[in-house]
């Protein structure tokens, strides 16, 4: 089963001289860890934004072709469906965090999806332990170091338990121990059938991937 199918995708940013992608085709297997690598500026972040619908929803440009998530066109998913299907951890964690406390940040997404309070509480307990961030719970995002922000940004997306998790350079600011912790978590998620797409420059961190796509 394909988690993501990108079909004949062409895209140019507004004002860009040349298209970034021309007739790009990609297939990403369900239940696997797939890494995307490529030089800085080759379009990795843009591709992530297209897959999860940020482009064209919030960022405009010239887009043609289609993206299917588990067989459904991205444009045809409702917001709730999209939230359950795909979650994106931004390359720059600070732009993703906006709530007054980390706790608010973590429960915000699931509350928006109207999950039961009990369920939200259980998810919260799980991610706090998985990423070892309990001590940060009552802090404001601006009071965190960048590595801590990166962990919280990941945690906020994990709270939604998306079928497809997309992480854009999630290891960039993590120390060794946290990077290992996150990798172990990704391997466990794969066992549970979740699909993970990792964008990373560092080969040392894509060693957990089943497939590496060079963009």
């Amino acid at each position: 089963m394909k988690a993501i199918v990108v079909e004949n995708l062409t895209f140019s940013h507004r004002n860009a001289e040349r298209p970034l992608f021309e007739g790009l085709n990609l297939e990403i297997e369900s239940g696997r860890i797939t890494a995307i690598t490529g030089r800085s500026g080759c379009g990795k972040t843009t591709l992530c934004q297209i897959i999860c619908g940020i482009i064209p929803q919030s960022i405009k440009g010239d887009l043609s072709g289609s993206v299917y998530l588990y067989g459904k066109k991205t444009g045809e998913l409702s917001i709730a469906e999209r939230g359950e299907t795909v979650g994106y951890v931004f390359q720059n964690p600070s732009v993703q965090l906006f709530s007054p406390t980390i706790e608010d940040e973590l429960v915000f997404g699931p509350e928006n999806l109207c999950l039961e309070q009990e369920d939200i509480k259980a998810r919260l307990e799980t991610v706090l332990d998985q990423l070892s961030i309990r001590s940060l719970l009552y802090k404001n995002p601006t009071q965190l170091s960048l590595g801590q922000q990166q962990l919280v940004a990941l945690a906020a997306v994990l709270m939604l338990e998306p079928k497809i998790l997309i992480c854009d350079e999630v290891f960039a600011y993590l120390d060794q121990q946290n990077a290992e912790r996150v990798k172990a978590l990704f391997l466990k998620m794969r066992e549970m059938g979740r699909t993970i797409l990792l964008v990373s420059h560092e080969r040392a961190h894509v060693d957990i991937a089943d497939t590496v796509i060079q963009l």
Binding site: G41, Y173, L174, Q176
Partner: protein, 222 residues
């Protein structure tokens, strides 16, 4: 050997709870490439901000090139020491890439041609010539990082502090940065580099300091 940064018995805390640094002393030599490493939240960025005068210690004093920074203007510190933020965005404010590179120097009254020549050379070195007219906020993350470092180098600072300069750079661009670092070193310009990147640390570090919760737990020279 002459000291570039001296922390003398400083105390610092962000909030009322646990102090991050207490009775902390450390001397960093000008000629070295000093690496600062340690787990997330151990205080690396805080220490670099204290050295730049962006944060003030509660107790103790910090000396930069022999001067107490309490008596220095931020601009004065910035002229002597180049600082590259862990988040490059924090440093980009101009309307175009070219302006980002040239504006501060022109403002200080440096001759135009000299400023333009240096900007062109650095943009070429960092592979950013194609983006001269672009709004810096639209650049990809690695492009922003390269621009922030190139803009910092415009000043020709005698000492550099780089907070995780390799984060999100591809191998090719880490290589460009390494060449710049080696060149600076040849010119006897030292630097303090915060990094988690093992290969990079091994390649460049003359002295490697490991921080844990505000304490130096390891300090080794090569």
């Amino acid at each position: 050997m002459s000291a570039v940064i001296q922390f003398k018995n400083i105390a610092f805390t962000y909030t009322q709870d646990m102090p991050l640094f207490s009775a902390f002393s450390l001397t960093i030599e000008q000629a070295h490439i000093t690496i600062l490493r340690g787990e997330n939240g151990s205080g690396k960025t805080t220490l670099t901000r204290l050295a730049m005068g962006m944060l003030k210690p509660l107790k103790g004093s910090i000396f930069l090139l022999g001067n107490d920074i309490a008596s220095m203007q931020l601009g004065e510190i910035g002229q002597k020491v180049g600082y590259a933020f862990q988040s490059p965005e924090k440093q980009l404010f101009a309307a175009t890439v070219y302006e980002e590179m040239t504006f501060p120097r022109l403002l200080l009254g440096h001759p135009e041609q000299e400023v333009f020549d240096r900007a062109d050379q650095l943009l070429k070195q960092f592979d950013l010539q194609a983006y001269k007219e672009m709004y810096p906020r639209l650049l990809s993350f690695g492009e922003k990082r390269r621009l922030a470092i190139a803009a910092m180098l415009m000043n020709n600072p005698s000492y550099l502090i780089l907070d995780e300069p390799t984060a999100s750079l591809d191998d090719e661009r880490v290589e460009v940065l390494s060449a710049v670092i080696e060149q600076q070193k040849k010119e006897k310009r030292g630097m303090l580099i915060v990094s988690h990147n093992e290969a990079f640390i091994r390649r460049h570090g003359d002295r490697i300091i490991t921080l844990e919760r505000g304490y130096v737990i390891d300090d080794s020279y090569r």
